[in-house]
Amino acid sequence: MNGPQDLGGQMGFGPVAPEPETDEPIFHEPWEARALALTLTAGALGHWNIDVSRHARESLPPAVYYGSSYYEIWTRGLERLLVDAGLVGDDELASGSALHPAAATARPPLAAAQVRPSLAAGSPYTRPTSTPPRFGAGQRVRTINDHPTGHTRLPRYARGVEGTVERVHGCFVFPDTNAGGDPDPQWCYTVTFAASDLWGRSADPRSTVSIDAFEPYLVPAS
């Protein structure tokens, strides 16, 4: 969706103002650490995947998204996911306490002893496929110019633009459908654009931008 998350090329956010690397705490407030940990443990219950959770965050109203810090966005997204999954009620969020019996969960709660093994294992997003990739390294392609209302990972700035396939990465779960629960694996490619093809006269003269693009985002360049 062309939501508040699609920030590439948007303006008006001011300078970056990084904190000095050696001074920046990993969490700026204790609650941020809890927000991260809750998001991971709730995710481990198995009711949503990474694309469902991204879509929950990007579906926040733009005023909320831009008016919130990043962990606030995560927290509001998590609340939405929990309600949509039937694990928590809106009335519980409103009252701030558990009011109903727990629902059955898809997977058991993550035990403390499982945390480090599970983080170290991760969850690969590649999937087997029997179809060969449609494009190869070095090939000129054009991105499609669709504007779906659902989740997608083709940013608006990189739509309808010609670029070059730089690398074929393998077959991955497809975010556009995975956000609806269907992994429908697709080949994934790094596609590199000349900055001038993306930004016109505003472009940095000696720069490129690369994205990782799923096969349905691409057509052969004309």
């Binding site: 699609d6 920030l7 590439g8 090329g9 948007q10 956010f13 001011g14 300078p15 970056v16 103002a17 990084p18 690397e21 920046e24 990993i26 700026h28 609650w31 809890r34 927000a35 991260l36 940990a37 809750l38 443990t41 709730a42 990474i50 991204r54 990007e58 831009y66 990043y70 609340e79 929990l82 694990l87 928590v88 969020l93 306490s97 558990a98 969960t105 709660p109 035990a111 403390a112 945390v115 983080l119 991760g122 997003y125 990972r153 940013p155 990189a158 990465h169 991955f172 994934c188 790094t190 590199t192 993306l198 940095d204 000696r206 720069s207 490129t208 690369s210 994205i211 990782d212 799923f214």
Partner: protein, 201 residues
């Protein structure tokens, strides 16, 4: 946050000890020191660098790093003609196993919106001013690939050990918003004089 946490714990969805374990992991164990060791190895072992560029996930696993948000790694190497910088314009994708959790600026709308359209302007806000002839390559992490930049090895470190080198590598240099400064040669009294100490102190 406290209310949400107590709801989830009261309903039995979340084990409080698991929360603490996650926080402890990213507070103390998984952070940019991991990536720095990858970089130092790449600087000192050409065969490792080659493996890293060919299959970063496997080469990083050789050093014991991997897992969540680093399942599919790509490594890009800065040279004297090309500088790489990484962003996630759509959310906050970042290679946790080698860099830990992202800094606040990496997740900020200011960085995410601008580095793709004005990379040199953004780098300048980090104090990083590149030669105009150097090509800037921006990597927008739009899928499940995660990127690690190998910064250029600073001049003056020719005889440093891998461990010393790892201590030199900053997090920002592995995102690409920083270049590592040359290391001053060990000062020797006589050379100081020979260099001409006219304006000294």
């Amino acid at each position: 946050m406290r209310a949400l946490e107590s709801i989830l714990i009261d309903k039995g969805y979340v084990d409080p000890a698991a929360l603490d374990e996650i926080i402890d992991t990213y507070q103390h164990d998984v952070g940019p020191r991991n990536g720095a060791r990858v970089v130092a190895r790449a600087w000192t072992d050409p065969a490792y660098l080659e493996r890293l560029l060919a299959d970063a996930t496997a080469a990083i696993a050789e050093l014991g790093y991997g897992g969540r948000q680093g399942e599919h790694m790509v490594v890009v190497e800065n040279t004297d003609t090309t500088h790489h910088v990484v962003v996630c314009t759509l959310c906050s994708c970042y290679p946790w196993p080698v860099l830990g959790l992202p800094p606040a600026w990496y997740k900020s709308p200011a960085y995410r919106s601008r580095v793709v359209i004005d990379p040199r302007g953004v780098l300048a806000e980090f104090g990083t001013v590149l030669d105009p002839e150097v090509e800037v390559r921006v990597w927008d992490s739009t899928a499940e690939l995660r990127y690690l930049v190998i910064p250029r090895r600073p001049a003056g470190t020719e005889d440093w050990t891998e461990e010393q080198l790892a201590d030199l590598v900053t997090r920002n240099s592995m995102i690409g918003t920083e270049v590592l400064a040359p290391v001053a040669a060990p000062t020797v009294g006589i050379r100081d004089h020979a260099d001409g100490g006219g304006g000294a102190s």
